[in-house]
């Protein structure tokens, strides 16, 4: 009656083996390492570079304990953090121009384990230290920007087709074009619907005006938003690469948010500065003809904006944007002819063509180069165009220090953001607290487990010992599973592991109590064991499914730390059902199934004096 077929034992044995194999890497610890990966496509992390690095390190008497050449880059292992940091500084100055030199931790587990994917659990930021940012993309800002671009395009199209209009204005999220009569409006509709397929045109008549309402089509709007988010993510990735972080996480969250996680980053101020800055470059024309006096009084002429030039006076700049930062392929700090700090910008072919055209058409006029940084727009410089500039090489110089030149170059090189972004959540954990959190989580689990194990073993004797073994198997399987899935372990996650220990014992207690019940009812030992397991099963499933419902809801609605908790809770429920039913039953069957039992070794069972209630 209490016997398992061989295949059940095999399932248990195989899952145990897997659990053990994938749990093991967690016990080897990690050692400090440096990760070197190419910054540009032109640079390559290959055997030649590895040799160069090895020689450099040897020259500076910096011992390393191993090197690893991978497709993504080179990893060098060190014995201690001191050497690691020294080596980073040395390598940074040597090859830092072409490569990202980042601090990292490498698991110490043997190579063959890594090869079969047996890696330690992925530690969350609260355990390893680092920064977590959530950035919100200002989609409204992006919309306004594109509306402004559209209204200038509309204006020039109408002008080219000689269709008179009585004004183009932006009203909320649409553009309103006024016409004197319906004929011109009809002409305009016919013309505009040909060129602007992305726009919705609607006629509205008021008392004395004929309006044409122009809005961006909803699906186009959505596409623009997706594109803006994607571009921002790409930009952030480039910027993070400039920071030199190993294993950064940059991912989309919802429709307009980005999560950035930088493990091990300690200089949070710098990280925030680089990420938080939303510089984009815009090239527009300066309006020298209009009345600047009126603008200073607060009424800038139509289609222009008032700005102050860096280190100079106020000037009027046309709203129409001729060229934006996304055409930039490279930007390097340097000096101009007068040895003043400058930024040398290289444009892509399209940008170069536009730039050539605009400089040809505007010789003798002034062009403004604007740096747009989150609600703050600054005219860096407004040089007079002396001649046509071809080749896509632009030099920006204008009263900046060499540090500023370097920062501007970095921001421009790292790419422009399609829409402004703002940090709306930050969680930073210092490295010392991270290490402390690991020991806190570990100790909570360890002492909790020991207390429960001791109590259960004493209370239920042999069956208690089996329960404790099942509980250990549960823990083993849970950690193995977390390692296989490479789920992120956080401090609440460790709390969930501890809690799983406390909750998983429930199934064992249910079984043991049931067996005792059956013994009280006077059934034979083997039958009592059998009935106990069978009857407890339904209850175990019921109670665990309700907890699973809670876990899934937590996962669905939770964020950050709560999600980590939910993942472990859900997995813990699965492993605990398995270990309490299959594993402990298997052990009982193996130990007691094949022989005659005079009594069940489940501690002394008290029986009521009256046999029936």
């Amino acid at each position: 009656m209490n016997r398992y077929p061989l295949w059940k034992y095999l399932i248990i044995a195989v899952s145990l083996l897997f659990g053990l194999l994938y749990t093991l890497p967690n016990f080897f610890g990690e050692s400090p390492a440096i990760q070197i990966s190419p910054l540009r496509a032109s640079a390559q992390a290959d055997a030649v570079l590895l040799q160069q690095i090895e020689q450099t390190l040897a020259r500076h008497h910096l011992p390393f304990s191993g090197t690893l050449l991978e497709a993504s880059g080179i990893k060098i292992r060190f014995a201690d953090t001191d050497t690691q940091i020294k080596a980073r500084d040395v390598l940074e100055s040597e090859i830092g121009n072409d490569f990202i030199v980042a601090l990292n931790l490498l698991p110490n587990s043997p190579e063959w384990m890594n090869r079969i994917g047996a890696l330690p659990m992925y530690l969350g930021l609260d355990l390893r230290g680092g920064v977590h940012f959530m950035l919100q993309v200002d989609m409204d800002g992006a919309l306004l920007k594109s509306l402004d671009r559209y209204s200038s395009d509309l204006r020039s199209t109408l002008r080219e087709q000689r269709i008179p209009s009585a004004g183009i204005d932006r009203d909320g999220d649409q553009i309103v074009i006024k016409f004197r009569n319906t004929q011109t409006r009809d002409r305009a509709i016919a013309e505009l619907s040909k060129t602007f397929v992305d726009l919705d045109l609607r006629t509205i008549d008021t008392a004395d005006d004929f309006h044409l309402q122009v809005a961006i089509k909803p699906d186009v709007h959505k596409r623009m938003q997706t594109a803006a988010l994607q571009q921002n993510i790409t930009t952030l990735r480039n910027r993070v690469n400039e920071l030199g972080v190993a294993e950064p996480i940059i991912q989309q969250a919802g429709t307009d948010r980005v999560i950035v996680q930088l493990p091990g980053v300690q200089d949070t101020a710098k990280a925030k500065d680089i990420l938080g800055r939303t510089a984009t470059l815009e090239i527009r024309m300066v309006d020298d003809e209009s009345d600047i006096e009126a603008a200073l009084r607060g009424q800038p002429p139509f289609g222009t904006e008032l700005f102050t030039e860096r280190g100079g006076g106020p000037l009027l700049v046309k709203k129409q944007v001729l060229l934006t930062g996304d055409r930039i392929t490279d930007a390097q700090p340097g000096f101009d002819q007068d040895s003043q700090p400058a930024v040398h910008v290289t444009l892509d072919s399209n940008g170069a063509r536009i730039f050539k055209q605009l400089t040809r058409q505007n010789v003798g006029k002034r062009m403004a180069i604007l740096l747009v940084e989150k609600h703050l727009t600054e005219v860096v410089t407004a040089p007079v165009i002396r001649e046509e500039i071809g080749g896509g090489r632009v030099q920006i110089s204008g009263r900046m220090s060499s540090t500023e030149a370097r920062d501007v170059a970095l921001l421009l090189r790292a790419g422009a953001l399609a829409a402004p972004m703002e940090i709306i959540e930050e969680r930073t954990v210092g490295p010392s607290l991270g290490a402390e959190n690991i020991s806190r989580g570990f100790n909570s689990t360890l002492y909790g487990f020991l207390a429960v194990a001791l109590f259960i073993a004493i209370y239920y004797m042999a069956f208690g010992a089996i329960s404790v073994t099942a509980l250990s198997v549960n823990l083993l399987l849970l950690i193995g599973l977390l390692s296989i899935l490479q789920a992120t372990l956080t401090l609440p996650g460790m709390a969930a592991i501890a809690l799983t220990v406390g909750m998983a014992i429930d199934a064992n207690v249910l079984i043991n109590e049931r067996i005792r019940d059956e013994i009280r009812n006077g059934i034979s030992p083997q039958a009592a064991i059998h009935a106990g397991y069978e009857r407890a099963l339904g209850t175990i499933l019921d109670s665990n499914i309700t907890t699973l419902i809670a876990g899934i809801a937590l996962f669905a609605f939770g964020s950050g730390p709560v999600k980590g908790f939910a993942v472990v809770l859900c997995l813990g429920i699965l492993t605990s059902v398995f270990s309490a039913t299959m594993v402990s039953r298997g052990m009982v069957n193996l130990l007691y199934g094949n022989r005659k039992l005079s009594r069940v070794p489940i501690g002394s069972v008290w029986k009521p004096k009256r046999s029936k209630r």
Binding site: K272, I423, G430, Y447, A451, A495, A498, V509, D542
Partner: protein, 310 residues
């Protein structure tokens, strides 16, 4: 070893009247404290900045406050936690420091005052995020409650679903009541604990419900109250041992878990203790109140067959 030696069933249902009064009193008190004192919502929900810093030597909080006041941040709360070297600073959201720059500014000022100061942890949550987290938390609570009611209604019967969820929401309200009364900080991790309690303490009700169903089939002559009394008595030993074991782990968390897990463990402790109480003395009386019958669980069409048996 066997702690639980009941000669006969404990007449829980006879205490139903008193226990309902007691539960109602606790429940109303909890609501009262939540309403009057409100929850001390953490930065996760209100938005703002929390900084955990550590000095090289024991420090005087007045000095930290002075530095902050010097920057015009008189509305900051500064307190010790753990040792006298560790300081926790809470700052409300400030308009002029967007994008989480506030912590850097404060850190710079503190470093100028005392070089040994070390940044341990910073949490900045924008007001819109806080609002969302709160909404998501409420949604999760709703979803879990509904999920449990539906599951229990399918697995047992709708009366059991109602009884189960009332008992569990009772636990949740009591936890919230405690947090309101003592003004303990209610953070995202505490919310996780509350939801875990919701899932966990429903276990308790499920185990008892399972027994009630079994007893309805087995003890064919017994009255409903007697069936329930017997079910609770029979599961008593499991109840106490399971919860005792879970509580051991939670105590371990209280002792070793540090300040992040402290309130988490505290919420669990209240949840576990009241979970035992509520599944025995809240869920079951409600079942009786809702008029649970043998026919609710034991299908009538099977009856003639069973009666035909000798």
């Amino acid at each position: 070893m066997d702690f639980f030696r009941f000669e006969r069933d404990i007449p829980f249902m006879r205490w139903g009247k008193y226990s309902t009064i007691l539960s109602l009193t606790i429940f109303i008190l909890s609501i009262f404290f939540i309403a009057t004192r409100g929850l001390n919502l953490g930065v996760d929900f209100t938005g703002g900045t929390v900084m955990e810093i550590s000095y090289g030597q024991p420090t005087d909080l007045a000095r930290t406050r002075e530095v902050l006041a010097g920057m015009g941040m008189t509305d900051a709360t500064v307190q010790n936690f753990g040792t006298s070297r560790d300081v926790l600073i809470r700052l409300p959201t400030k308009q002029e420091f967007t994008g989480g720059n506030l912590s850097e500014v404060v850190m710079d000022a503190l470093r100028q005052d005392d070089e040994t100061v070390e940044m341990r942890r910073v949490e900045f949550v924008g007001p819109q995020v806080g609002q969302e987290l709160l909404e998501n938390g409420a949604l999760a609570l709703l979803f879990v409650s509904l999920g449990i009611v539906i599951y229990l209604a399918i697995r047992f019967e709708w009366k059991f679903g109602i009884a189960g969820i009332v008992a569990n929401l009772h636990d949740v309200v009591v936890i919230l009541g405690f947090f309101a009364f003592f003004q303990w900080e209610f953070s995202l991790t505490v919310l996780a604990a509350v939801l875990a309690v919701l899932g966990y303490s429903v276990n308790e009700s499920v185990v008892i419900f399972d027994r009630i169903r079994e007893n309805f089939r087995k003890l064919r002559k017994a009255s409903v109250a007697k069936v329930i009394d017997n079910a609770i008595t029979m599961t008593m030993s499991r109840t106490v041992i399971t919860h005792g074991s879970t509580q051991m782990v939670v105590i371990s968390m209280l002792l070793f878990g540090g300040e992040v897990l402290y309130y988490f463990a505290l919420a669990l402790t209240i949840g576990i203790l009241f979970g035992i109480y509520s599944s025995i003395l809240v869920a079951s009386p409600i079942l009786v109140l809702l008029g649970v019958k043998r026919e609710d669980l034991v299908k009538p069409e099977r009856k003639p067959q069973e009666e035909a048996l000798p």
